[in-house]
């Protein structure tokens, strides 16, 4: 046991921990886990507040604004409320599985934080298979969700659980295929290695390296939406079809666990994309103290991730839900073939341009800017066209 722990920890290249003291290393690992848990859980909760505010504004509402400044403490109030509620376990439910399922989901949400590259030094374990570990661990969610759906002994829950299993397993494939282009260009699976291969300038991010990477990044983003059961792929908990899907019978803290994991997974999904394609924590080099540099890198990483999290909230506020067969056909007919093309295309690209093509990078960056500009023009068009001053109750 001890030996295997030593081997496991030894492989994981802890930054601060001396490797010859297993006990210390284990203690540090536990401490780090606790700290991460203390970061991850409030983060996932605060995201609920952000989401509700963003969603509300999209829908011409105000959103929660009573608890704390601008409703900022709403997540705390919700958490306390959920903890205080009665924990109902249906009589016909398979109680042990029913109780176990939320913990598995939370496990799948907590474990990936171990390889989260917050900055050049701030990483718990820079595994040399970091990105592989990440994709493997996040897929654990499916076990919890399927377990919840089955053990609830409710037909709606069961349909939700099965939909979830089908969905998460299917979308693992395009997500995996979309990771390959970045891996092909760097030749490493380590999170830090992937980031170090990119530079801080936006046109040196991998997303602009070539057209295949651009498409791969988009597919990766959409696939992670599907893996996290986010709109437009929220079929497992489709409230207008399946009441609440696999979480129908859950209440109290267990229900909270599911949704904390969902929102926390948004962060993880965004972090994967930022690491692979959006330059990670890369900031311009200054001759400042390492602590300050790490702080700036951390902020940079966080901002990028939060922007992506915001986009996924925004998508949730826009799109309807796809049907189960369409969800499958999007995956197998569109994303998987295109994912293979991306992989092969990048491989050929790397063969021809081992150090990347400056011209293509600039062209792709210009294309992205053009898309953003076109988007801004559409936004301005819709804002001008609708005469919102006609609202009869313009009081807030």
């Amino acid at each position: 046991m001890n030996n295997s722990l030593v081997t496991l920890i030894g492989r994981a290249m802890f930054g601060p921990a001396p490797l010859d003291h297993t006990d210390q290393a284990a203690a540090i690992a536990v401490a780090c886990a606790v700290v991460l848990f203390a970061i991850a859980v409030p983060f996932a909760s605060i995201v609920t507040w952000v989401e509700r505010r963003v969603w509300a504004r999209i829908q011409s509402r105000v959103g929660p604004n009573r608890v704390g400044p601008n409703g900022f403490l709403q997540w705390l109030a919700d958490g306390v409320k959920h903890v205080c509620k009665e924990d109902v376990i249906p009589e016909e439910a398979d109680a042990p599985l029913f109780k176990l399922a939320p913990y598995l989901v939370v496990l799948a949400f907590i474990l990936p934080w171990a390889v989260m590259p917050f900055s050049s030094m701030l990483i718990l374990a820079d595994l040399n298979i970091g990105i592989l570990y990440m994709t493997a661990i996040t897929a654990l969610t499916v076990v919890g969700v399927l377990m919840a759906g089955w053990s609830s002994n409710n037909k709606w829950s069961l349909i939700g659980g099965i939909r979830s299993a089908a969905q998460i397993i299917s979308y693992e494939i395009p997500a995996g295929l979309s990771i390959f282009p970045a891996v092909l260009m760097t030749g490493t699976l380590s999170m830090q290695g992937l980031i170090r291969a990119q530079k801080w300038e936006p046109y040196h991010w991998f997303i602009f390296a070539n057209p295949f990477c651009f498409v791969a990044a988009i597919i990766l983003f959409v696939s992670t939406l599907a893996e996290n059961n986010r709109t437009p792929f929220d079929l497992p908990e489709a409230e207008s079809e399946l009441v609440a899907g696999f979480a129908t019978e859950y209440s109290s803290m267990r229900y909270l666990f599911f949704f904390m994991a969902e929102w926390g997974n948004m962060f993880i999904a965004a972090a994967i994309l930022v690491t692979l394609y959006l330059g990670g924590w890369q900031i311009p080099r200054f001759n400042w103290s390492p602590a300050l540099m790490n702080l700036l890198q951390f902020i940079c990483f966080l901002v990028k991730v939060l922007v992506l999290v915001f986009v996924s909230m925004w998508i949730r506020g826009t799109l309807p839900r796809v049907r189960i067969d369409q969800m499958m056909s999007i995956c197998w007919k569109y994303f998987v073939p295109i994912g293979f093309i991306n992989m092969i295309g990048t491989a050929i690209w790397v063969a021809f341009f081992p150090h990347g093509s400056r011209l293509m990078e600039m062209a792709m960056f210009a294309l992205a800017l053009a898309i953003v500009a076109a988007f801004a023009w559409r936004v301005a068009y819709f804002t001008r066209r609708s005469r919102m001053e006609l609202y009869f109750h313009p009081t807030i």
Binding site: Q59, T231, S240, E241, V243, R321, Q326, S386
Partner: protein, 372 residues
Amino acid sequence: MSTLRTEEMTLNMGPQHPSTHGVLRFVIKADGEVMREAIPDVGYLHRSIEKIAEKVGYHGFMPYTDRVDYVCAMFTNQGWAMACEKLAGIEVPRRGEYCRVIAAEFNRLASHLLTVGLMGMDIGAMTPFLHALREREMINDLIEELCGARLTFNYMRIGGVAWDLPPGWREKALAYLDHLDPILDEFNALFSYNKICIQRLANVAVISAEDAINYNLVGPNLRASGVKWDVRKDIPYSVYPEFDFEIPIGRGEWGTTGDAMDRYMMRIREMVQSSRILRQALTQIPDGPVLAKVVRNFKPPAGECQVRVESARGDQGWYVVSDGSSYPWRVHVRTGSFAAMGIIQKLSRGLMIADLVVLIASLDVIAPEIDR
């Protein structure tokens, strides 16, 4: 390997399911995600409104008609008023008829906005729903100013309407219509023309023209199948012949004629037409009284009559039998939603569970109108 034993799953959708639009129940026989059959079970919202009419008299029944179809109560108001007027041979002043048409068409807008919004919610997009409800709130504000209530209007009376248009209301209503048209375009860009929406609605639950007629569908559901039938044009009532408007019919641009997308787009197109009628009505409205002289103790001569109103949910029939006393002897309402429920069982075969939600939303059934 021997074949796996599989069995059908019987699912109970409703009466407290989030997407059954009130208190409806469906017994679904499903094979995984695919339905073998969905059997509708109605009657959870029966309040015996027709029987109440026999006890409260002609004037007193008017507020009850609001409850027949609370989403578009103006049409039930109008149907009842028209039936009583036909029984007693009362002529409504022209300004009264205009007020009725204006109120009813605004109500049609409100009802269709709710329908298209609910379609958004039923296929998982909250935002279109709330945008549609936002527009509906503005119409409710207008109607509230007109008649003092937002849902159960009780605006019409036998012989006309209870209130004239308030001062300044006409301009406000026209300003609202100017606001609505770009909002409809925006709504289309947000939701109707969205690829996911089209994929979810097109070619789902196709009703052929023959089926639509055989199953007695009315209103937008019938027109979406390509049958051009609108009571406002074909059996004109009130002052509708004085307006220039079109009857949109389903053409199947996105899939097959008569699919859910056609039924959905029918509402959007009818809103455009309603807006057209309203503009004309608001500019043409004549001066004069709005209410004919009707005695308080209204006793129509013995006889029976039947009137038809094109409600937001289609051809609404009011059948009244009078025995000459101050209470009607029998009242019957024929509503579009009840007929639409009949076709669900046939259409549901082979659909997915998610499509049943689309089917219900596209037929625009309103539970109180089914059961009355």
